[in-house]
Symmetry: C2
Subunit: 295 residues, 2 copies
């Protein structure tokens, strides 16, 4: 498996084809842990500081021991060095509870593989999206921390099932909606809407994951003259938008070309503009990102 890489928290590499995790790990038996997926290009991990900050927040929501960003930076550096291939690396950082019954030391590692050809293709073609009910009132999530909304836990079976359901209906991806029609997020992405020079996304306090790629895009776009906003979005806002995009480490800026079977306005030019702004952010930062202070 030369197209896989596995690094441990002590900065050593391990064989990605060899077993690593015990059967009794609660990360496996109960999805009890947190993760991040970091995009690595030209040997530089993108938005690592933001990803590690979110990993720490997610771990806190699950009552896990706090991840040490310095150790994680060493682990990521080892994975990137061990990868040594030109293709984009999708690097997943896993921080799980550890061995049953109560967890011992957390199980922590970085596992990388190439960004899938399908994901790369869809960045170019755009995606057909199906809206799917998530069922939970956004006004509840702040009062119900046990629901883990806005937490990137390993318990992603619903996210995977939603994507499979969308694909079974001939779509490429999904967006979750609340009972009142509020647009929440994709199963593995953030929803961004462009309208009249304003980029908008769903506020995190409605129970969505704060997007690292979305935040980077907003920073780059604002510097280029766009206005940016977090506001409650309805499906009607997607229908009337100049462009609708899904963002994530894997999606980058992927335009939504249709929603529930009906084409949206052609946003190819906007997608190219926003992608350009995002990519320019990294053009001269490969060295810089490695010199960031450990946090």
């Amino acid at each position: 498996m030369t197209d896989r890489v596995l690094a441990l928290l002590d900065g050593t590499l391990a064989d990605p084809a060899a077993p690593l995790v015990r059967a009794g790990d609660l990360g496996l038996m109960r999805g009890d842990g947190v993760f991040e997926t970091v995009l690595v290009e030209d040997a530089a991990p993108r938005e690592l500081t933001a990803h590690l900050a979110r990993l720490v927040r997610s771990a806190g929501a699950l009552g896990l021991p706090a991840p040490h960003p310095a150790a994680w930076r060493r682990c990521v550096a080892a994975a990137v060095a061990g990868w040594g291939r030109p293709d984009e690396l999708s690097l997943t950082l896993v921080h799980a509870r550890g061995t049953a019954p109560d967890g011992s030391a957390p199980t922590s590692f970085a596992f990388g593989m190439p960004v899938s050809p399908k994901r790369r293709r869809l960045r170019g073609t755009g995606v057909a999206v199906l809206s799917l009910a998530r069922g939970v009132d956004p006004d509840l999530v702040g009062r119900a921390p046990w629901l883990l909304h806005g937490v990137k836990s390993l318990s992603y079976a619903v996210n995977m099932a939603a994507t499979r359901y969308a694909e079974s209906q001939g779509a490429d991806d999904a967006v979750f909606t609340a009972p009142d029609g509020t647009v929440l997020e994709g199963p593995t992405s953030t929803v961004v809407v462009a309208h009249d020079g304003v980029l908008s996304t769903t506020p995190p306090d409605l129970g969505v994951l704060p997007g690292t790629t979305q935040a980077a895009l907003f920073e780059a776009a604002e510097a280029a003259g766009w206005r940016v906003a977090a506001r409650r979005l309805a499906l009607a806002d997607l229908w009337s938008a100049d462009g609708v995009f899904l963002t994530s480490a894997g999606h980058k800026v992927t335009r939504v070309r249709s929603l529930d079977g009906t084409p949206l306005r052609d946003s190819s030019a906007l997608a190219a503009e926003l992608s350009g702004l995002l990519e320019a952010r990294y053009a001269n930062r490969a060295v810089h990102s490695w010199n960031e202070a450990t946090t």
Copy 2:
């Protein structure tokens, strides 16, 4: 780790302290898989046929390859033989998607450990329960299969978080409620209410897991003259009940002694009666359960 046992699907035992699962397994990285927890007493697994049937249903809901009950029976038999201790064994059957990106062969094993002393203690004392919102309208779940309600997936982080939240508030366990107040299920148990000679539980079509222990209890109770029903339960039904119980392989029949901080009617005698009916079901069945036809 002589108080752990690990058996593989080919009927061999493996070292439970040794790593078994690859870092890239989607069961670990995305909680993408299903499980069952079987109680083994006196070397006999309880309700194995029902557990395996539910494992098959859960796997179908996730689009996983169908588990083969005959292979699982062989695996369970190996685990039970390898255990060889007098204490109750909590045996978890895991059937996960396998290695990323798309899963290869599923990752399947049975991992066992003793029922926790805390769980055993709470069977005797009863539990203080906190009601916690799950947020999703029960009338949605039948139309939204991607939400995986009623599916025992590995993505149990919310169930674990709900239990931790209840404990942080001084309770022992939780029951989930729907937005309209319907009582759903515990994070790891089924809710059973006794009232005027009738045992009731929430209907599975409201998005709860059909309980194997609850079904066994209802069968035993009905044979002893109780009436049984699946009906929509409100919190008011719990307040007015002769007894409220949580059932699961681990809970057996655990009485709820208080709800949201207020004591419920003392149901110690009822709990003893129902536990007796359930235990009698297994008194002479150790041999029988091994002779059940493979399904």
